[in-house]
Amino acid sequence: MAASLIKDLQSAIGVKYVLHTPEDLLVYEYDATIERGLPEAVVLPETTAEVAAAIRVAKRHGVPVTARGAGTGLSGGAIPCEGGIVLVTARMDRILKLDAANRLAVVQPGVINLDVSRAAAAHGLYYAPDPSSQKVCSIGGNVAQNAGGPHTLRYGSTVNHVLGLEIVTPDGEVVALGGETLGAPGYDLTGLVVGSEGTLAIVTAVIVRLLPRAPATITLLAVFDEVREASEAVSAIIAAGVLPAALEMIDKKTMRAVEPFVNAGYPPDAGAALLIEVEGLEEETSEEAEAVRSTCEVSGAREIRIGMSPEEREKLWAGRKGALGALGRLAPSYYILDGVVPRTRLPDVLSGVYEACERYGIPVANVFHAGDGNLHPNLMFDDRVPGASERVLELGEEIMRLCVDAGGTITGEHGVGSEKRNYMSWIFSDDDLAVMARVKSAFGADERFNPGKIFPTSKGCGEVSSRMKSAIAKIGPGAYV
């Protein structure tokens, strides 16, 4: 490691905010996945100017830069595959502007997702994208991953709520994209940078759209004997002309795991439950809730609970939200997958997932965004057993194949990162990937911003270990995906 790199970084952003001792660096070698890699230096800038200065230093020294928000990513995105500098946005945590009249906010990338909605609440507004990690994950990380959440079904992902960005390019230049007003002329670079996983630019400010809170919300919990019935009900609800705000599924394994902690009252022999939320004017929500109820009944639901008040609704969500924490008690480690299939293929693909897990002898719990066809099988294992992690990764790959074969994709919200880069060629041709690579070179990024991510490569990224637990621990008992 070049001492001159550290020195230059120190003079760019201050001695205090450049970490380089091995003990300090260790904290930044992992995110919430099962891989890790050690940086040479960690910088914690406070302003856009400091970010730009740090990037210019990196450029001069020819070292890569990997941005890092809260480190809750589930695809190895924030892991510095090729060392270099990790740029942490934790100190860029200010809401720069909250313009209630125009329903927008301008925030720094280190602002925690939930804090935006908290700040907006006084004005009857909120920030719609609600990744389950929203109590800790950063807006910068959300933008980089195009994060989704339970309410993506109705309201879309992060990209649908970002009006503009301030970015720093690999050359260290600060550029404004999009803006507070609509229809800025030119290519939609905002939309391109959202979801680019820190490989094109470092995001230093985000203009987000805020939505008015819906006047009424009703939550339903429908319990089914069989997973297949529940997954068929998902399509039936859509076919009935209802587009719920959220439509989540919890399977048997998950229900059994959470019951002792949450006392949700799940019947011990139930096969799956759907959690459905409808929002809008009172008149409309009650009609839609009724449509959902009768559709679920026709699809074979044996029990349907309805929550109207915030307390009742919170109770119905408790099992869903407590799932991950409870599952964490069942095995020393687990690996969360993220695949998407066309909604109508859900029943078959789910059966395929259970079959594959059975074959590998690896327990699986499914708790996921069923309305979007976005599966999150949680594979439970013990990473201390030699070879266990490798087998889990192998099974994960097989499940991803199932999704792709069904016409789906390899990630709906967690990103490609280093974890899935070699699956990219399953869904994109060489030409498709070449065009993406060209766009990357248009930014001058090449291998300097977050190398080893998104694009297929034969190079490894760090080593495999399990840090999922620590990520969960950080989010607390309320963690859920």
């Binding site: 550029v175 939309g191 006047p215 209802v242 809008g280 008149e283 016409g407 789906g408 030409d431 930014f443």
Partner: protein, 394 residues
Amino acid sequence: MVRQAALLTDLRSIAGAENLRPGSDEFAVDGVTPQAIVRPATVKAAAAVIGHANETRLAVIPIGGKQRGGPGNVPERYDIALDVTALSGVVEYEPDDLTITCGAGMTLAELRKTTAAAGQMVGFDPEIADEATVGGALAADLWGPSRVSLGGPRDFTIGLRVITGDGLITRAGGRVVKNVAGYDLCKLYVGSLGTLAVVTEATFKVQPLPKATRQIAFTAGSAAAACGIASDSLMRGLSLRSAVVTRAEERWRLDIALAGSEAAVERSARELASLAGDGEQETGDSGERPNERPIGVRIAALPSKLPALLEELPVGASFLAYPTLGVVRLRLRDEGELPSLMAMGAIVEDAPPEVKRGIDVFGPEPPALPLMRSIKAQLDPNSVLSPGRFVGRI
């Protein structure tokens, strides 16, 4: 003419004689007439045409519904009109998946009919003409007042198949509603006005058709009052599909479209009436769909600043304002007022060639222009596609 004859010979062997015609004014873009018109029957043939143009350094402009006028600078060069209307039809539509894939040459009329048959719709604004094609609507990033409830093309386009300026057939996005695999190049292509790639196929999110719709209109004493009713109804969560403010002499008028369940629309109408207070409820059409004026400009502002901007417009001005979006579309009789409007950030959406020739219709260069130029250089290295038409004459 020798050049034209040689070009026609080349194109004949690439795309077939039956798909080829000599250029004509029918395919003129902003007053520039092409030498040849090709209507390829397949994506492969379309790619071959572009590949040929790339090798011989000719300029190609994709053409859909030929709604003429519309956004874009006068092309710098224009040799081949690539008529994409043969690349049409539904490729895949599974209503329960809430997605549809169709050819770029499909008209919005066909798309609307196909989805309506299953009780669904794609979020293109109802105001957009039926004759527009999917490819043209995406290229121009067409949206209207319903963007407040339906989003714009960037929000509901989830997959595209395109041909780049050097003739590569490539895909972006996919066919599922949620997808973060790799860069979302759909965002780049939507609104790129045929300067990065030619769209051949698109996949959209669809949504259920509303069970009920209703149009109501109110008059108000000021722009602020008219805009205020719209934003209050949004904040109350009423079933707002779109809101448009216009002006007839001293009176301001607010046209609201409601969409939702019967009961929700009914209640929204009631609440709107009370929000409007003593503002009269209007019936009938405003008669203010100004189309004779040849120049169309768009100004975007923060919604809170829109009323003041509207009040400053001359009383005779002809415009449609979208209060919840902060956008006003003005129609002008001549270019007299253009310089002052463009100084306010207006962009010209539509104008006769003689007006366009003297200006950059997109106004001042955006700060990210250098990045945009390098993206253009990567996807269309020899400036084959619609050269000179875009921002900064890209």
